[in-house]
């Protein structure tokens, strides 16, 4: 199986055998065409012990935003996987982000204040909505300069992580 992985913005390719992909263990893989011999086992869900030429790495992998967060020691990488089988479906996302931005609640909580009105012009970083979670008030800011197209929440409303709070165009 050949995958294209964007690691911290750099495009890389990883090829691993189908057997290895299933079970882990000793595997021969190609990274950007260079062959790498490794021994990889999943020691706990999302936690891998990987030996490469005797050097031991512990790697944690978990979903984060639209991709993965991969931690090795103190270093964390943002990874996005381009599986050729899924390539087509993911394509539209980037273009959509440029036009209108849906501003979502980063965590579950309660809307304490709505700071903007539909039609209002906003700069990047302008506070849109104040969400209270775990006793802290957090201002959710506009990701871009533009116009507030819609506000989808009202004060006092409970929101879940990922709920759309407002749309900025």
């Amino acid at each position: 199986m050949k995958l294209t992985i964007e690691l911290d913005g750099k495009t890389r390719t990883v090829e691993i055998g189908a057997d290895a992909a299933r079970g882990g263990g000793r595997l021969l893989c190609a990274i950007d065409g260079r062959s790498v011999e490794a021994d990889a086992i999943e020691v706990a869900p999302g936690v891998y012990s990987i030996l490469i030429e005797g050097t031991s790495f512990e790697v944690r992998v978990e979903p984060y935003a639209a991709g993965l967060r991969v931690g090795v020691g103190g270093r964390e990488y943002a990874a996005r996987i381009r599986d050729p089988r899924q390539w087509r479906r993911n394509r539209g996302a980037a273009e959509e982000a440029e036009g209108s931005q849906r501003v979502v609640a980063p965590m579950p909580g309660k809307v304490i204040r709505v700071l903007v009105k539909p039609g209002q012009t906003v700069e990047t970083g302008k506070g849109l909505v104040v969400v209270e979670a775990m006793k802290m008030q957090n201002e959710v800011r506009s990701p871009k300069s533009g116009k507030v197209e819609r506000v989808l929440v009202s004060e006092g409303q409970t929101v879940g992580a990922g709920d759309v709070l407002a749309v900025v165009t």
């Binding site: 995958l3 990274i31 790498v36 891998y48 979903p63 993965l68 020691g73 599986d83 979670a133 802290m136």
Partner: protein
């Protein structure tokens, strides 16, 4: 000695107090809200009773329910921990009225020294230096503006009832006053049920250094050295250490004696902390007194060898404190970091949720005051503190090395934590040189990060793990379209279902 103590708290501090009870052979009674039934403090307690719905007001802040639970369970004392009702004089009174000992100072001492404005009056009367500012609560934003002008900007707005950085705002200019006032006041109202604020001059590069005191009910008060808590984010302490790297024996003695003088003036008993700001010339200014056990008490315990919670319990039961000032010697260096469920890469937003996998550090010089476990769902309703990781070393450098090593062993999947932030702080030159002040971390964070250089092959390992993760999850189903974020969750669900299938059917 008490027979049974109710712990009016949750999380790591409830567990900490429970451990002291157990070591003293006193029964520990937990209380819990609806979302905390499976919490660690409930699992470890000798007895546990429900006290209501998830919102604190209906459970951990309900004086009636907690006192009733204590009475029904036959408790002879209540330990309030920190936060919630710990500094609520009405609660201390209600305990007394019910014939239950409140483990802490008297309600009168709490009112006099725990209220920031009242304590500043006491400080002025006893000759303890204070930061320029208003002694009394201010009415509104206009009055705050008038009060700020003679002091000069920047100023800080602080909640009269406050603590932990809640209801607090820095105001750098006249123009910023109105919105800062609104935010601080409403946050204070939400957190403490009291929206009143006062104003203080903002010192340029002060260090936050606090003195731990301990007094018995027979008039004997000692100080147990200091803690430096200058690494703060939005006025919330992030890393604390003891001793302070800038402390001298002379300064320790004068700050310690000032703290004891203040406590004595307020007829204070039990554990308390007197907070000071210390400027570049090592002048100190009284900030406020916390009339309770502090979150960061473990660093004092590590360098003094004392168990503060046990001493609190002994003092409350009326015992004399068998500890003279000269008996107190500090040994080595201890550093604590507060591990929060929050995402440092995403504006520190809280990150409640289920902890899927977790490994906690152990080994030489490491102490973990823990409040959670793998499989526990961190609720949305409370403070996001998960646990406190404390390292002790023979000197500061060894403590830093041990803490760094321990942080490397820690991981939690399913929720985000601020562990990566601690590694960055500990690796920074400023922290290693102890060149820190209360605003240092905010500046450090705004400087942007230098990417740590990765070990050779670490990227290869990351790529292999990501590829394996993908092929096990999303890839295994032939790219059926399940987004990766759901994949991990469904794996757990599948695991759960499988477990249920394997479970033996009921004998009926």
């Amino acid at each position: 000695m008490f027979r049974k103590i109710l712990i009016a708290n949750r999380g790591e501090i409830a567990v900490r107090i429970l451990r002291a009870c157990r070591e003293m052979n006193v029964r520990a009674v937990a209380v819990y809200s609806e979302v905390d039934r499976a919490a660690l403090h409930v699992r470890l307690a000798d007895e546990a009773y429900p006290i209501g719905a998830a919102p604190s007001r209906e459970s951990y802040l309900s004086i009636d329910k907690i006192v009733r639970a204590a009475r029904d369970a036959g408790c002879d004392a209540i330990h309030p921990g920190y936060g919630f009702l710990a500094e609520n004089a009405a609660f201390a009174r209600a305990c007394g009225d019910a014939g239950i000992t409140f483990i802490g100072p008297s309600p009168e001492a709490m009112e006099q020294l725990g209220s920031k404005t009242a304590a500043r009056h006491v400080a002025r009367e006893t000759g303890v230096p204070t930061v320029p500012g208003t002694l009394d609560p201010i009415e509104n934003a206009e009055a705050a503006l008038a009060a700020a002008k003679p002091i000069g900007f920047p100023v800080v707005l602080k909640a009269v009832a406050g603590g932990g950085g809640k209801g607090m705002r820095l105001v750098e200019s006249e123009a910023a006053m109105a919105s800062a006032w609104r935010d601080a006041s409403s946050e204070a109202q939400n957190a403490f049920g009291d929206g009143r604020l006062y104003i203080e001059k903002y010192l340029l590069r002060p260090r936050h250094i606090e003195i731990q005191i301990l007094g018995d009910h027979h008039g004997h008060i000692v100080y147990l050295g200091e803690r430096e808590c200058s690494v703060q984010r939005r006025y919330q302490k992030v890393i604390e250490e003891a001793p302070s790297p800038v402390m001298t024996p002379e300064l320790r003695r004068s700050m310690g004696e000032a703290a004891v003088k203040l406590a004595r003036a307020g007829k204070y008993a039990n554990a308390g902390t007197v907070e000071f700001l210390v400027d570049a010339e090592r002048r100190f200014y009284f900030l406020e007194m916390n009339t309770r056990l502090q979150v960061e008490h473990p660093v004092t315990e590590m360098v003094t060898g004392l168990d503060l919670v046990k001493l609190q319990i002994r003092i409350a039961s009326g015992e004399r404190l068998q500890l003279a000032q000269d008996d107190i010697a500090l040994r080595g260096h201890a550093i604590e970091c507060r591990i929060y469920a929050e995402d440092p890469d995403n504006s520190f937003f809280p990150s409640p949720g289920k902890i899927l996998e977790r490994r906690v550090p152990t080994g030489p010089g490491i102490r973990l005051d823990d409040g959670v476990y793998a499989g526990w769902t961190v609720p949305n309703e409370y403070d996001p503190l998960l646990s406190k990781l404390i390292a002790w070393g023979g000197d500061r450098a060894e403590a830093i090395a041990r803490l760094t090593r321990a942080l490397g062993e820690h991981y939690a999947l399913g929720i985000k934590t601020n562990v990566g932030l601690f590694r960055r702080i500990l690796a920074s030159r400023d922290f290693q040189d102890a060149d820190i002040y209360t605003r240092w971390l905010d500046e450090f964070l705004s400087r942007g990060r230098e990417i740590a250089s990765a070990a050779p092959r670490a990227e290869d390992a990351a790529l292999i793990a990501a590829a394996l993760w993908h092929s096990h999850r999303a890839g295994a189903s032939g790219g059926s379209g399940a987004p990766p974020s759901r994949a991990a969750e469904s794996r757990w669900k599948i695991e759960g279902r499988r477990e249920q299938l394997h479970r033996a059917p009921d004998p009926q």
